[in-house]
Symmetry: C2
Subunit: 252 residues, 2 copies
Protein backbone atom coordinates (compact mmCIF):
# COMPACT_ATOMS: atom_id res chain seq x y z
CA UNK A 1 0.00 0.00 0.00
CA UNK A 2 1.52 3.35 -0.95
CA UNK A 3 1.20 6.56 1.04
CA UNK A 4 -1.77 7.92 -0.92
CA UNK A 5 -3.69 4.66 -0.42
CA UNK A 6 -2.75 4.59 3.25
CA UNK A 7 -4.05 8.13 3.69
CA UNK A 8 -7.30 7.35 1.82
CA UNK A 9 -7.88 4.25 3.96
CA UNK A 10 -7.20 6.19 7.13
CA UNK A 11 -9.49 9.06 6.11
CA UNK A 12 -12.32 6.57 5.74
CA UNK A 13 -11.59 5.10 9.15
CA UNK A 14 -11.47 8.32 11.12
CA UNK A 15 -13.60 10.49 8.79
CA UNK A 16 -11.35 13.50 9.15
CA UNK A 17 -8.16 15.01 7.75
CA UNK A 18 -6.57 16.04 11.03
CA UNK A 19 -2.81 15.65 11.29
CA UNK A 20 -1.60 15.90 14.85
CA UNK A 21 1.80 17.52 14.96
CA UNK A 22 4.12 16.14 17.60
CA UNK A 23 6.14 19.34 17.96
CA UNK A 24 6.91 18.19 21.44
CA UNK A 25 9.12 20.96 22.75
CA UNK A 26 10.76 19.73 25.96
CA UNK A 27 10.52 23.23 27.41
CA UNK A 28 6.72 23.14 27.24
CA UNK A 29 6.05 19.74 28.80
CA UNK A 30 3.46 19.69 31.58
CA UNK A 31 4.99 19.87 35.02
CA UNK A 32 4.73 16.20 35.92
CA UNK A 33 6.91 15.08 32.99
CA UNK A 34 10.69 15.24 33.33
CA UNK A 35 12.20 17.94 31.11
CA UNK A 36 14.37 15.62 29.03
CA UNK A 37 14.21 13.19 26.10
CA UNK A 38 12.50 10.57 28.29
CA UNK A 39 9.89 13.09 29.33
CA UNK A 40 9.23 13.91 25.68
CA UNK A 41 8.76 10.22 24.97
CA UNK A 42 6.41 9.76 27.92
CA UNK A 43 4.39 12.78 26.89
CA UNK A 44 4.22 11.61 23.27
CA UNK A 45 3.00 8.24 24.56
CA UNK A 46 0.26 9.99 26.47
CA UNK A 47 -0.64 12.12 23.43
CA UNK A 48 -0.72 9.17 21.03
CA UNK A 49 -2.73 7.00 23.40
CA UNK A 50 -5.19 9.86 23.91
CA UNK A 51 -5.68 10.58 20.21
CA UNK A 52 -4.90 7.34 18.36
CA UNK A 53 -8.53 6.78 17.32
CA UNK A 54 -8.92 10.39 16.17
CA UNK A 55 -5.75 11.29 14.27
CA UNK A 56 -5.78 10.85 10.51
CA UNK A 57 -1.98 11.11 10.60
CA UNK A 58 0.85 12.15 12.90
CA UNK A 59 3.56 14.61 11.92
CA UNK A 60 6.83 14.51 13.79
CA UNK A 61 8.83 17.72 13.79
CA UNK A 62 12.49 16.70 13.70
CA UNK A 63 13.84 19.90 15.24
CA UNK A 64 12.37 19.27 18.68
CA UNK A 65 14.07 15.88 18.82
CA UNK A 66 17.38 17.01 17.32
CA UNK A 67 17.79 19.70 19.96
CA UNK A 68 18.03 16.93 22.57
CA UNK A 69 20.92 15.21 20.80
CA UNK A 70 21.19 11.42 20.34
CA UNK A 71 18.68 10.78 23.12
CA UNK A 72 16.18 12.98 21.32
CA UNK A 73 16.62 10.87 18.20
CA UNK A 74 16.05 7.77 20.31
CA UNK A 75 12.79 9.36 21.49
CA UNK A 76 11.85 10.08 17.88
CA UNK A 77 12.56 6.48 16.96
CA UNK A 78 10.48 5.12 19.80
CA UNK A 79 7.67 7.58 19.09
CA UNK A 80 7.57 6.46 15.47
CA UNK A 81 7.43 2.85 16.66
CA UNK A 82 4.58 3.65 19.02
CA UNK A 83 2.48 5.12 16.21
CA UNK A 84 2.70 1.81 14.39
CA UNK A 85 2.03 1.14 10.73
CA UNK A 86 -1.70 1.79 10.37
CA UNK A 87 -1.60 5.54 10.87
CA UNK A 88 0.27 7.55 8.21
CA UNK A 89 3.35 9.40 9.43
CA UNK A 90 4.90 12.60 8.13
CA UNK A 91 8.50 13.41 9.00
CA UNK A 92 8.63 17.19 9.11
CA UNK A 93 12.30 17.71 8.40
CA UNK A 94 12.38 20.17 5.47
CA UNK A 95 15.58 18.58 4.21
CA UNK A 96 16.91 19.92 0.95
CA UNK A 97 20.16 18.58 -0.41
CA UNK A 98 21.38 16.67 -3.45
CA UNK A 99 23.31 13.62 -4.57
CA UNK A 100 24.75 11.25 -1.95
CA UNK A 101 23.71 13.64 0.83
CA UNK A 102 20.06 13.47 -0.25
CA UNK A 103 20.41 9.68 -0.42
CA UNK A 104 21.63 9.65 3.17
CA UNK A 105 18.74 11.85 4.31
CA UNK A 106 16.33 9.50 2.55
CA UNK A 107 17.90 6.54 4.30
CA UNK A 108 17.52 8.27 7.65
CA UNK A 109 13.86 9.16 7.06
CA UNK A 110 12.57 6.06 5.31
CA UNK A 111 14.91 3.25 6.34
CA UNK A 112 16.18 4.04 9.81
CA UNK A 113 13.15 5.80 11.25
CA UNK A 114 10.61 4.27 8.90
CA UNK A 115 8.51 7.35 8.21
CA UNK A 116 5.92 7.16 5.42
CA UNK A 117 6.59 10.64 4.08
CA UNK A 118 8.83 13.64 4.54
CA UNK A 119 8.73 17.40 4.04
CA UNK A 120 11.48 18.82 1.80
CA UNK A 121 12.77 22.27 0.93
CA UNK A 122 12.82 22.75 -2.86
CA UNK A 123 15.49 25.43 -3.24
CA UNK A 124 18.06 23.24 -5.05
CA UNK A 125 15.51 21.94 -7.55
CA UNK A 126 14.22 18.54 -8.56
CA UNK A 127 17.50 16.81 -7.65
CA UNK A 128 16.44 17.24 -4.02
CA UNK A 129 13.62 14.76 -4.67
CA UNK A 130 15.52 12.14 -6.68
CA UNK A 131 16.77 9.77 -3.98
CA UNK A 132 13.49 10.02 -2.07
CA UNK A 133 11.41 9.15 -5.13
CA UNK A 134 13.18 5.81 -5.41
CA UNK A 135 11.22 4.54 -2.42
CA UNK A 136 8.08 3.26 -4.05
CA UNK A 137 5.54 3.59 -1.28
CA UNK A 138 6.82 6.81 0.24
CA UNK A 139 5.67 10.37 -0.37
CA UNK A 140 7.24 13.84 -0.38
CA UNK A 141 5.78 17.19 0.62
CA UNK A 142 7.61 20.21 -0.81
CA UNK A 143 7.46 23.46 1.09
CA UNK A 144 5.57 25.70 -1.33
CA UNK A 145 3.92 28.68 0.33
CA UNK A 146 4.30 29.47 3.99
CA UNK A 147 2.60 31.77 6.48
CA UNK A 148 5.56 33.59 7.97
CA UNK A 149 6.15 37.32 7.41
CA UNK A 150 9.21 36.72 5.24
CA UNK A 151 7.48 34.23 2.92
CA UNK A 152 7.40 37.12 0.45
CA UNK A 153 11.20 37.34 0.35
CA UNK A 154 11.65 34.43 -2.03
CA UNK A 155 8.44 32.38 -2.34
CA UNK A 156 6.73 35.17 -4.28
CA UNK A 157 9.85 35.97 -6.30
CA UNK A 158 9.52 36.13 -10.08
CA UNK A 159 6.58 35.99 -12.41
CA UNK A 160 5.03 33.44 -12.13
CA UNK A 161 5.90 33.34 -8.44
CA UNK A 162 8.45 30.77 -7.30
CA UNK A 163 5.83 28.89 -5.25
CA UNK A 164 3.82 28.23 -8.43
CA UNK A 165 6.94 26.85 -10.10
CA UNK A 166 7.30 24.49 -7.16
CA UNK A 167 3.69 23.40 -7.68
CA UNK A 168 4.45 22.78 -11.36
CA UNK A 169 7.33 20.55 -10.29
CA UNK A 170 5.12 18.62 -7.86
CA UNK A 171 2.63 18.04 -10.66
CA UNK A 172 5.37 16.35 -12.69
CA UNK A 173 6.24 13.93 -9.91
CA UNK A 174 4.08 10.91 -10.80
CA UNK A 175 1.72 11.39 -7.87
CA UNK A 176 4.47 11.08 -5.31
CA UNK A 177 4.88 14.77 -4.43
CA UNK A 178 2.61 16.91 -2.33
CA UNK A 179 2.94 20.48 -1.18
CA UNK A 180 2.97 22.40 2.08
CA UNK A 181 0.71 25.46 1.91
CA UNK A 182 0.16 27.71 4.91
CA UNK A 183 -3.45 27.92 6.00
CA UNK A 184 -3.47 31.66 6.43
CA UNK A 185 -3.08 31.97 2.67
CA UNK A 186 -6.01 29.65 1.93
CA UNK A 187 -6.87 31.62 -1.19
CA UNK A 188 -3.70 30.27 -2.69
CA UNK A 189 -4.89 26.72 -2.06
CA UNK A 190 -7.17 26.89 -5.08
CA UNK A 191 -4.45 28.34 -7.24
CA UNK A 192 -1.91 25.67 -6.30
CA UNK A 193 -4.48 22.89 -6.50
CA UNK A 194 -5.25 23.93 -10.02
CA UNK A 195 -1.58 23.66 -10.99
CA UNK A 196 -1.05 20.31 -9.30
CA UNK A 197 -4.50 18.74 -8.83
CA UNK A 198 -3.25 15.32 -7.76
CA UNK A 199 -0.93 16.56 -5.02
CA UNK A 200 -1.82 16.15 -1.39
CA UNK A 201 -1.65 19.49 0.35
CA UNK A 202 -0.34 19.58 3.87
CA UNK A 203 -1.72 22.63 5.60
CA UNK A 204 0.02 23.80 8.76
CA UNK A 205 -0.80 26.95 10.58
CA UNK A 206 -4.20 26.06 11.95
CA UNK A 207 -4.75 26.91 15.61
CA UNK A 208 -1.91 28.70 17.31
CA UNK A 209 -0.65 30.12 14.01
CA UNK A 210 -4.08 31.55 13.18
CA UNK A 211 -5.31 29.97 9.96
CA UNK A 212 -9.02 29.40 9.42
CA UNK A 213 -10.34 25.86 9.18
CA UNK A 214 -13.42 26.86 7.16
CA UNK A 215 -11.35 28.57 4.45
CA UNK A 216 -9.42 25.36 3.93
CA UNK A 217 -12.40 23.01 4.02
CA UNK A 218 -14.35 25.20 1.59
CA UNK A 219 -11.53 25.43 -0.92
CA UNK A 220 -11.45 23.47 -4.15
CA UNK A 221 -8.50 21.55 -2.74
CA UNK A 222 -10.57 20.11 0.13
CA UNK A 223 -10.36 16.54 -1.19
CA UNK A 224 -6.59 16.74 -1.13
CA UNK A 225 -5.85 18.55 2.12
CA UNK A 226 -4.36 17.21 5.30
CA UNK A 227 -4.59 19.80 8.03
CA UNK A 228 -1.97 19.89 10.73
CA UNK A 229 -2.59 21.16 14.23
CA UNK A 230 0.34 21.01 16.62
CA UNK A 231 0.62 23.21 19.67
CA UNK A 232 -3.12 23.95 20.13
CA UNK A 233 -3.66 20.24 20.65
CA UNK A 234 -0.52 18.89 22.24
CA UNK A 235 -0.13 21.63 24.83
CA UNK A 236 -3.85 21.89 25.67
CA UNK A 237 -4.84 20.90 29.18
CA UNK A 238 -7.00 18.18 27.61
CA UNK A 239 -5.46 17.24 24.24
CA UNK A 240 -8.13 14.67 23.39
CA UNK A 241 -11.01 17.12 23.69
CA UNK A 242 -9.26 19.68 21.52
CA UNK A 243 -8.32 17.01 18.96
CA UNK A 244 -11.98 15.92 18.84
CA UNK A 245 -13.05 19.49 18.24
CA UNK A 246 -10.65 19.88 15.32
CA UNK A 247 -11.51 16.44 13.92
CA UNK A 248 -15.17 17.50 13.79
CA UNK A 249 -14.32 20.73 11.96
CA UNK A 250 -12.03 18.81 9.59
CA UNK A 251 -14.53 16.19 8.50
CA UNK A 252 -13.32 14.19 5.52
CA UNK B 1 36.01 35.63 19.19
CA UNK B 2 33.30 35.41 16.54
CA UNK B 3 33.31 33.05 13.57
CA UNK B 4 34.82 35.54 11.13
CA UNK B 5 37.67 36.28 13.53
CA UNK B 6 38.18 32.59 14.19
CA UNK B 7 38.40 31.90 10.45
CA UNK B 8 40.84 34.78 9.90
CA UNK B 9 43.04 33.55 12.75
CA UNK B 10 43.00 30.02 11.40
CA UNK B 11 43.76 31.14 7.84
CA UNK B 12 46.91 32.84 9.15
CA UNK B 13 47.92 29.70 11.03
CA UNK B 14 47.49 27.20 8.19
CA UNK B 15 47.91 29.62 5.26
CA UNK B 16 45.13 28.02 3.26
CA UNK B 17 41.34 28.09 2.88
CA UNK B 18 40.77 24.33 2.72
CA UNK B 19 37.65 23.03 4.44
CA UNK B 20 37.76 19.27 4.88
CA UNK B 21 34.26 17.84 4.58
CA UNK B 22 33.58 14.92 6.88
CA UNK B 23 30.94 13.37 4.62
CA UNK B 24 31.84 10.10 6.22
CA UNK B 25 29.50 7.66 4.51
CA UNK B 26 29.56 4.41 6.47
CA UNK B 27 29.22 2.47 3.23
CA UNK B 28 32.53 3.81 1.96
CA UNK B 29 34.72 3.21 5.01
CA UNK B 30 38.02 1.39 4.34
CA UNK B 31 37.78 -2.32 4.99
CA UNK B 32 39.48 -2.38 8.37
CA UNK B 33 36.86 -0.09 9.96
CA UNK B 34 33.57 -1.60 11.18
CA UNK B 35 30.63 -0.50 9.03
CA UNK B 36 28.70 1.21 11.80
CA UNK B 37 28.54 4.46 13.79
CA UNK B 38 31.64 3.44 15.80
CA UNK B 39 33.53 2.78 12.59
CA UNK B 40 32.59 6.24 11.33
CA UNK B 41 33.90 7.74 14.57
CA UNK B 42 37.15 5.79 14.39
CA UNK B 43 37.64 6.80 10.76
CA UNK B 44 36.88 10.45 11.55
CA UNK B 45 39.44 10.26 14.35
CA UNK B 46 42.02 8.97 11.89
CA UNK B 47 41.08 11.69 9.37
CA UNK B 48 41.21 14.50 11.91
CA UNK B 49 44.50 13.31 13.40
CA UNK B 50 45.97 13.07 9.89
CA UNK B 51 44.87 16.54 8.79
CA UNK B 52 44.54 18.64 11.95
CA UNK B 53 47.56 20.80 11.12
CA UNK B 54 46.39 21.32 7.53
CA UNK B 55 42.63 21.96 7.66
CA UNK B 56 41.47 25.55 7.80
CA UNK B 57 38.06 24.25 8.90
CA UNK B 58 36.04 21.06 9.11
CA UNK B 59 32.55 20.68 7.68
CA UNK B 60 30.34 17.95 9.08
CA UNK B 61 27.59 16.74 6.78
CA UNK B 62 24.65 15.90 9.02
CA UNK B 63 23.01 13.43 6.61
CA UNK B 64 25.71 10.79 6.94
CA UNK B 65 25.30 10.78 10.71
CA UNK B 66 21.50 10.96 10.72
CA UNK B 67 21.25 7.86 8.54
CA UNK B 68 22.79 5.89 11.40
CA UNK B 69 20.14 6.97 13.90
CA UNK B 70 20.90 8.03 17.48
CA UNK B 71 24.30 6.33 17.40
CA UNK B 72 25.19 8.36 14.34
CA UNK B 73 24.36 11.52 16.24
CA UNK B 74 26.56 10.32 19.08
CA UNK B 75 29.36 9.92 16.53
CA UNK B 76 28.69 13.43 15.26
CA UNK B 77 28.86 14.75 18.82
CA UNK B 78 32.12 13.00 19.55
CA UNK B 79 33.60 14.05 16.21
CA UNK B 80 32.76 17.67 16.96
CA UNK B 81 34.40 17.29 20.36
CA UNK B 82 37.52 15.81 18.79
CA UNK B 83 37.92 18.79 16.47
CA UNK B 84 38.12 21.05 19.51
CA UNK B 85 37.63 24.79 19.63
CA UNK B 86 40.59 26.16 17.69
CA UNK B 87 39.54 24.95 14.26
CA UNK B 88 36.34 26.48 12.86
CA UNK B 89 33.47 24.04 12.30
CA UNK B 90 30.66 24.19 9.76
CA UNK B 91 27.54 22.12 10.33
CA UNK B 92 26.30 21.28 6.86
CA UNK B 93 22.64 20.71 7.61
CA UNK B 94 20.78 22.95 5.15
CA UNK B 95 18.00 23.46 7.66
CA UNK B 96 15.25 25.82 6.64
CA UNK B 97 12.31 26.37 8.92
CA UNK B 98 10.78 29.19 10.93
CA UNK B 99 9.58 30.22 14.38
CA UNK B 100 9.97 27.77 17.27
CA UNK B 101 11.13 25.05 14.88
CA UNK B 102 14.02 27.21 13.67
CA UNK B 103 14.81 27.97 17.32
CA UNK B 104 15.01 24.25 18.04
CA UNK B 105 17.30 23.66 15.05
CA UNK B 106 19.54 26.49 16.26
CA UNK B 107 19.67 24.92 19.72
CA UNK B 108 20.66 21.59 18.21
CA UNK B 109 23.41 23.08 16.04
CA UNK B 110 24.88 25.69 18.36
CA UNK B 111 24.04 24.55 21.88
CA UNK B 112 23.90 20.78 21.84
CA UNK B 113 26.55 20.03 19.22
CA UNK B 114 28.43 23.29 19.60
CA UNK B 115 29.11 24.00 15.94
CA UNK B 116 30.48 27.43 15.01
CA UNK B 117 28.35 27.83 11.89
CA UNK B 118 25.60 26.14 9.91
CA UNK B 119 24.36 25.93 6.33
CA UNK B 120 20.71 26.92 5.81
CA UNK B 121 18.21 26.67 2.98
CA UNK B 122 16.69 30.12 2.28
CA UNK B 123 13.36 29.14 0.69
CA UNK B 124 11.12 30.45 3.50
CA UNK B 125 12.88 33.81 3.64
CA UNK B 126 14.73 35.79 6.26
CA UNK B 127 12.67 34.26 9.10
CA UNK B 128 14.76 31.12 8.60
CA UNK B 129 17.78 33.06 9.88
CA UNK B 130 16.18 34.84 12.85
CA UNK B 131 16.77 32.38 15.69
CA UNK B 132 20.27 31.55 14.44
CA UNK B 133 21.28 35.21 14.30
CA UNK B 134 20.65 35.56 18.02
CA UNK B 135 23.82 33.60 18.72
CA UNK B 136 26.43 36.34 18.73
CA UNK B 137 29.55 34.46 17.72
CA UNK B 138 27.97 32.04 15.26
CA UNK B 139 27.68 32.30 11.49
CA UNK B 140 25.22 31.17 8.81
CA UNK B 141 25.84 30.06 5.24
CA UNK B 142 22.79 30.28 2.97
CA UNK B 143 22.60 27.94 0.00
CA UNK B 144 22.73 30.35 -2.91
CA UNK B 145 23.86 28.75 -6.16
CA UNK B 146 24.57 25.06 -6.49
CA UNK B 147 26.26 22.83 -9.04
CA UNK B 148 23.61 20.18 -9.61
CA UNK B 149 21.75 19.85 -12.92
CA UNK B 150 18.45 21.04 -11.44
CA UNK B 151 19.94 24.19 -9.88
CA UNK B 152 18.26 25.98 -12.78
CA UNK B 153 14.78 24.87 -11.67
CA UNK B 154 14.44 27.50 -8.97
CA UNK B 155 17.80 29.15 -8.21
CA UNK B 156 17.79 30.98 -11.55
CA UNK B 157 14.07 31.74 -11.37
CA UNK B 158 12.95 35.34 -11.87
CA UNK B 159 14.78 38.43 -12.95
CA UNK B 160 17.02 39.13 -11.12
CA UNK B 161 17.59 35.45 -10.43
CA UNK B 162 16.55 34.08 -7.07
CA UNK B 163 20.15 33.34 -6.08
CA UNK B 164 21.00 37.03 -6.40
CA UNK B 165 18.09 37.89 -4.13
CA UNK B 166 19.52 35.48 -1.59
CA UNK B 167 22.87 37.28 -1.89
CA UNK B 168 21.10 40.60 -1.31
CA UNK B 169 19.59 39.14 1.85
CA UNK B 170 22.99 37.90 3.06
CA UNK B 171 24.40 41.38 2.52
CA UNK B 172 21.76 42.77 4.91
CA UNK B 173 22.72 40.36 7.68
CA UNK B 174 25.22 42.41 9.68
CA UNK B 175 28.21 40.31 8.61
CA UNK B 176 26.77 37.14 10.06
CA UNK B 177 25.59 35.49 6.82
CA UNK B 178 27.70 33.85 4.16
CA UNK B 179 26.71 32.00 1.03
CA UNK B 180 27.24 28.58 -0.50
CA UNK B 181 28.23 28.85 -4.17
CA UNK B 182 29.10 25.79 -6.25
CA UNK B 183 32.61 25.84 -7.59
CA UNK B 184 31.67 24.76 -11.08
CA UNK B 185 29.91 28.06 -11.50
CA UNK B 186 32.93 30.10 -10.42
CA UNK B 187 32.00 32.91 -12.80
CA UNK B 188 29.07 33.59 -10.53
CA UNK B 189 31.42 34.04 -7.59
CA UNK B 190 32.33 37.51 -8.77
CA UNK B 191 28.71 38.43 -9.33
CA UNK B 192 27.60 37.28 -5.88
CA UNK B 193 30.67 38.76 -4.20
CA UNK B 194 29.79 42.12 -5.70
CA UNK B 195 26.29 41.94 -4.24
CA UNK B 196 27.44 40.81 -0.79
CA UNK B 197 31.13 41.72 -0.52
CA UNK B 198 31.44 40.99 3.19
CA UNK B 199 29.97 37.49 3.06
CA UNK B 200 32.17 34.46 3.39
CA UNK B 201 31.61 32.16 0.45
CA UNK B 202 31.67 28.44 1.09
CA UNK B 203 32.57 26.67 -2.13
CA UNK B 204 31.78 22.99 -2.34
CA UNK B 205 32.15 20.92 -5.47
CA UNK B 206 35.94 20.88 -5.73
CA UNK B 207 37.46 17.47 -6.45
CA UNK B 208 34.94 14.68 -6.98
CA UNK B 209 32.28 17.12 -8.09
CA UNK B 210 34.60 18.65 -10.70
CA UNK B 211 35.02 22.35 -9.88
CA UNK B 212 38.29 24.07 -10.69
CA UNK B 213 40.45 25.38 -7.88
CA UNK B 214 42.16 27.99 -10.05
CA UNK B 215 38.87 29.58 -11.12
CA UNK B 216 37.94 30.08 -7.49
CA UNK B 217 41.33 31.34 -6.34
CA UNK B 218 41.54 33.80 -9.24
CA UNK B 219 38.08 35.24 -8.65
CA UNK B 220 37.47 38.60 -7.02
CA UNK B 221 35.96 36.75 -4.09
CA UNK B 222 39.22 34.97 -3.27
CA UNK B 223 39.68 36.81 0.04
CA UNK B 224 36.30 35.56 1.17
CA UNK B 225 36.22 31.96 -0.01
CA UNK B 226 36.45 28.79 2.00
CA UNK B 227 36.80 25.82 -0.31
CA UNK B 228 35.41 22.49 0.73
CA UNK B 229 36.80 19.16 -0.41
CA UNK B 230 35.11 16.07 0.92
CA UNK B 231 35.26 12.72 -0.83
CA UNK B 232 38.49 13.30 -2.80
CA UNK B 233 40.29 13.67 0.51
CA UNK B 234 38.48 11.49 2.99
CA UNK B 235 38.21 8.44 0.76
CA UNK B 236 41.71 8.75 -0.70
CA UNK B 237 44.12 5.95 0.13
CA UNK B 238 46.31 8.59 1.79
CA UNK B 239 44.05 11.45 2.96
CA UNK B 240 46.90 13.54 4.35
CA UNK B 241 48.82 13.66 1.08
CA UNK B 242 45.72 14.68 -0.86
CA UNK B 243 44.80 17.28 1.78
CA UNK B 244 48.31 18.73 1.50
CA UNK B 245 47.99 18.94 -2.26
CA UNK B 246 44.71 20.86 -1.99
CA UNK B 247 46.04 23.07 0.80
CA UNK B 248 48.90 24.11 -1.46
CA UNK B 249 46.50 24.95 -4.30
CA UNK B 250 44.24 26.82 -1.89
CA UNK B 251 46.87 29.12 -0.42
CA UNK B 252 45.36 31.89 1.68
Amino acid sequence: MNFLEKVEKRKKEVENVLVIGLDTNVERLPRKFPKDAKGVYEYNKYLIESTRDIACAYKINSAFYEMLGPEGMQTMYKTRELIGDDIPTIYDAKRGDISSTAEAYAKAAFEFYGFDSITLSPYMGSDVAGPFLKYEDKYLFFVCLSTNPSAADFEYHGNPSLYLQVAVFAASCHEKCGLVIGATVADSLNEVHEVSPKSLILVPGIGTQGGKVQDVMNSEAREKVLVNVSRSIIFASDPRTVAEKYAKELKA
